[in-house]
Point group: C2
Chain length 461, copies 2
């Protein structure tokens, strides 16, 4: 493929990795990267921590600046939106700072990412997403604006109470944002339609998250739908309507998750899967000379065997690398994922991998489940803190199907990786019980909590 | 086996687990446990932390008291030493507080543990091991005694300097004890014959441990043999002789490791393996009606396929449970181990699994190795701290053979578990690169450090 032109749509995790990897593998490739934003290769997952004040400044979130990409030989064009792809003619049409243009490609990479779910009923100037760095900057601006307004006597906010944020959606970003706003001094209400927040966990584990949120002073309204907004003449929401009642607010943060950004792909006639993501093969190829990676694609769930949509930076990086290796003349595949995720929310460490009870049921597994309480370290060590582990195994075979962890101290969440590898390797609960996991008083009880869960579940198989 | 009498020699991790598990599985079993010490089921691994002052009191180290064992239906006889086993007659002879006696058994379990390596040249009243709780109490007594003596004008220690401890042996217990003594205010010298301390790691990784020890103010004499002691008339060592030079000391701590306590087994004609441990089958059976578990047995290294000796509480507990399940009429095996271990020493978290370079060579593997520096969390998070990972893989196949971690902050060591499971499952470095490990800014960079090491080593395969 030497000397060929590769056009990459998107310079974030997937597109940036694909472009950098391809250029590294074969420096003679011409790699053009078109990015609609003014930021490249940044950590979207870090935005809630930046807003909470844990991360010093926005520059810290940038993994690679446009200049760094260019120094690596990429022809990166920022603030350039691709408006159409023509697979037959092998062209993309785009609109950038210098006007519209079209480009011929030999190979095309779609790294168009995801779009936040934003119902039309929730549109107002102070209703904010947290998907992009610009979103994050807007949240910080709005915080400053609201803080300033609350100090002026003419705003009708002379009640002396704290500023009020309503977070809509109780996924991990919603909860991280609820915590961030709380730490910024807001009175925070989180409204979520699911019976418990953090619905990437089973409800019995999500309940532990809700309890920690309540303990932190967040008003959690679970199992509650949002009907709409009460919008003032200035275009700002003054209240969120919940069950017909207005919930007064100075700021609304959306945490309703994301959906794959597939508009270009759909218009180009590329295959879209049941999850809404672009369908790729194991090498992340979509069609002849077209590849895709990251939050715009669907992937394979290695436990259920079903298609799944997993918009996470870790997959975007891996899939982008797979595309880049293949474009550079190598051979690499992305086999799929087991659905591992972790989050630090409201004093808790939360992690999950594999199937939840409902996923197992949907996939046709009969699962048995066990929940155990253990601790991160031996009880007599000062760093010991409690953690709860839930494990699902297939009835009969004992194959581990899923693991969920909610821990109240450091060292809880990362234990999910051992579970993820056990699931990847197709291990049974009994095999995990026998496994040689590390033990030392500051790090683990003699039986690691994940093994304690495996011991409990193997009895039910 | 109902109604049969099981005699268990040793009430610590292995014997205690075997006895408790057997009785739980079949309450009609008569389970007699003979323990030579006055402590049962305690955490030997916790002793250095207790001496350092992290653990409140000795009672915290006791997992199960004699009373608790008895409440579970065990006939536990403390301070009772078994002096002989007669497999033909199926008897044990023992000596306890009420005199000598002999006992008929239907099934015998040997959980005789390990003995500290203690060269004859290093015998004096103030030369102490840290193997048992009584050892720990002696160390604390000696610390008190030395502190008191140093305040008396008649002891010749009127130099006003700190008390001096010499630790002989740089394994993890030696290093933990060096740190504990340092934190107790001693001037500490650690003398080790190996080229670098922590020889359970390759020397290039052990060097990082030495540097942290030196930074903590410990005088590390690596590659140095101990010739003997300078012993005063009162039977106390006043100096350790190193290279002909006296190293003045108030206290000497031995950290030379342990060897299997097999005296009873040897005299009973039971099989002893190349490592010096008792040989068992996969169910931990030694001979007809005789079982063994814990620090007195050798086990199988799952990577090299060779016999290995791994005196660790985690294996003792697992093997004891295997014996108990089998005695209770069930079926359970201990497949072997991959040599996973972790330790917190001198501000570092250290962990290892699988083979070192020398082990791989000895087993006949041609290994390639990569060392990478990464961080526990994304660089912009306040909890991010550096960690070094070394990975060995088999040339040609890419099969992971071993992983070593030295990290300077929380979250480093426990990552070894993912590596241990990858090795257990026979994964290649490339398969580990593809694996779905957890990512979130407070817990991990997008590429987990273990995967960064796998990426590096896969290129060398």
């Amino acid at each position: 493929m030497t000397g060929k032109r590769i056009v990459v749509v998107g310079a974030d995790a997937a597109g940036g990795s694909a472009a950098a990897q391809a250029k590294r593998a074969d420096p003679r490739l011409e790699v053009v990267v078109l990015e609609r934003q003014r930021w490249s290769s940044y950590s979207a997952c870090g935005i809630p921590y930046w807003i909470a004040g844990d991360v010093a400044d926005v520059d810290s979130l940038i993994a690679r600046t446009p200049e760094q990409h260019r120094a690596n030989g990429l022809d990166l064009r920022m603030e350039t939106t691709v408006t159409a792809v023509d697979p037959a003619a092998r062209t993309v049409t785009a609109s950038g700072p210098a006007g519209d243009f079209s480009l011929q490609y030999d190979e095309l990479v779609l790294g168009t990412g995801a779009l936040p779910v934003r119902p039309a009923a929730l549109d107002a100037d102070n209703v904010l997403g947290v998907q992009t760095i610009d979103d994050g900057l807007r949240v910080l601006d709005e915080i400053a604006l609201a803080s300033e307004a609350s100090m002026r006597p003419d705003t009708g906010r002379g009640d002396g109470g704290p500023l009020r944020a309503v977070v809509v959606g109780g996924g991990y970003v919603g909860i991280e944002m609820a915590e961030a706003m709380k730490r910024r001094g807001f009175a925070v209400t989180l409204v979520d339609a699911a019976p418990e927040p953090m619905s990437s966990l089973d409800p019995d584990m999500g309940q532990l998250v809700r309890e920690a949120m309540v303990a932190m002073g967040i008003d959690v309204r679970a199992g509650t739908a949002v009907d709409g907004l009460q919008v003032d003449d200035d275009g700002r929401a003054s209240a969120v309507l919940v069950g017909g009642q207005p919930l007064p607010c100075d700021l609304v943060v959306l945490g309703l998750g994301v959906r794959p950004n597939t508009e270009l792909a759909v218009r180009a006639g590329l295959p879209i899967g049941v999850t809404g993501g672009i369908v790729t093969d194991r090498r992340q190829r979509v069609a002849d000379r077209i590849w895709a990676a990251g939050d715009c694609v669907e992937t394979r769930d290695l436990v259920s065997g079903l298609p799944t949509y997993l918009p996470l930076g870790t997959h975007a990086n891996k899939q982008g690398r797979v595309v880049g290796v293949n474009l550079g003349g190598g051979y690499l595949t992305f086999p799929g994922a087991v659905g591992t995720a972790a989050s630090k929310v409201c004093s808790l460490e939360v992690a999950r991998t594999g199937l939840r009870e409902a996923d197992a049921e949907r996939a046709g597994f009969e699962a048995v489940a066990a929940v155990i309480r253990s601790s991160t370290a031996v009880g007599y060590m000062p760093e010991s803190s409690p953690m709860t582990v839930k494990m699902l195994a297939e009835r009969g075979t004992g194959r581990i199907l899923g693991v969920q962890i909610v821990g109240s101290g450091p060292g809880s969440a990362k234990r999910i990786d051992a579970a993820a590898l056990a699931i990847t390797a197709g291990m049974t609960a009994s095999e995990l019980v026998s496994a040689d996991l590390s033990y030392a008083p500051p790090f683990s009880p003699v039986w690691d909590p994940v093994q304690v869960a495996a011991r409990r579940v193997e009895r039910l198989v």
